[in-house]
């Protein structure tokens, strides 16, 4: 399993310190095989995740973003993930109008003991992103291309 692989895509994962980060650690300790496309960013709570973290990742070239926190009712801070759930759901519903595929963003709940579940989550999400392929770039070249297409249509 090489760290640098030509077919590897860029997936950003925001993981809550108390559950999902622990879950990922458990998966590692259990030596479960998992894809290496995910770059993990550890945050204190899923409630700490500003939906704009996700948007900024996607705009700046991430092919997918995965957010994972404690199961609702299990939050270390009692209610952080309840707020997160509303924000993230709203974000997921909002993405399509921008022309960003909402399947490139998922959120889920994994507890510290669920190493096996973490493996499933990462493998499934990575597989979905690979099916979608690299995300369209949002930059000057994309703009020039959009203009060319518009000019052709007229």
């Amino acid at each position: 399993m090489s760290a640098v692989d030509a077919t590897e895509l860029r997936i950003v994962g925001f993981l809550c310190n108390w559950c999902s980060y622990g879950g990922a650690d458990t998966a590692g300790v259990g030596r479960f095989q998992q894809p290496t496309d995910l770059r993990i960013i550890r945050v204190p709570c899923s409630g700490r995740i500003d939906p704009l973290f996700v948007v900024k990742s996607l705009i700046n070239g991430a092919d997918g973003v995965l957010v994972s926190g404690c199961h609702p009712r299990d939050c270390h801070y009692s209610e952080g993930n309840f707020y997160a759930r509303r924000r993230l759901e709203v974000l997921k519903k909002f993405l399509p109008i921008l022309g960003i595929d909402h399947r490139r963003f998922e959120y889920t709940w994994v507890s510290a003991s669920e190493g096996q579940k973490w493996k499933t989550v990462v493998s499934t999400f990575t597989e979905h992103i690979h099916q979608l392929g690299p995300a369209p770039k949002i930059n000057r070249e994309a703009l020039v291309l959009a203009r060319t297409l518009a000019a052709k249509a007229v």
Binding site: V55, P72, R85, R86, V90, L98, G99, N139, A146, A150
Partner: protein, 317 residues
Amino acid sequence: MQHLEELKQQIRDRLPALDLVIGWEAGFDPLRATPLFMRQPDDVDRLIIGPQCVHNLATHLTGLKGRKIGIVVKGCDSRTIVELLQEKLINREDLVVFGVPCSGVVSVGKIGRKMGSLDYVEGVEFSADSVTVASEGVQNSFALEEVAADKCGRCQYNTPLLFDVLVGEPRPGDVVDDYADVATFEEQPLEARMNHWLEAMDRCVRCYACRNACPMCVCRDHCVAQSRDPHWMTQEDTVENKLLFQIIHTMHLAGRCTECGECERSCPMSIPLLLLRRKMNKEIDALFDYRAGTRIDATPPLLSFKVEEEKINERGW
């Protein structure tokens, strides 16, 4: 407007107890009104009301917090006041609201496109359902519906939701806003939508007029667009940066935007900003049955939660 004199009298009666009253006066030409700040009884003479009074005057309220303010509002503007009160950004006891039932305001942009020029307008006459504009020797009549702001076509709040003084007859609003414009836009493929925003945002000159005109943008000097810590946005003139700014604006208005359309109206580059806000509101309405600025005792949906969310599908893997 037969109610103008009544409104003026009401304002004169209450002015002594207030620091100022905000209304509209004629701007540099008869088509364009401008905000009027009435401090003396003489100032009240310059007040106008009519379809050219498009500004949402509630934008000024947060900056004047702590002073006794009177304000003239249309139905849509009253939603903004409800939302500001709900978030405790202004105090009810410092506020006197003069409500004016509204039958729609004109869009200067639409009239300009029809006239072929946005230049100086010499004369405007409004009747019950039409507007006659004279500019550069040409005189044209339009149905008010044809040149009304987009928001007026779907307005259910012709009568203010909250007021201390109501001048004129309440108007029923029987239109249902089903967010058809958002649905139509989303019929395009993803790629076309992205291209649309890339081209629209490329026009952006980062003047921040959309932010400054927005009555719910209350961070003032702490706006993340200009903050270095956190450094959300760079000074670079890139399309992704400008798109990010508009997404930030939309996210910060999630469940709070009352769709007054000031962002879009004030945009010098005609970027269809309201579409993004409306998409957000559409989803908030679908998920939480909530429309900003309609209930004064409600909590904005993203500032609250339910342990069991009825409409959120917990994504099990």
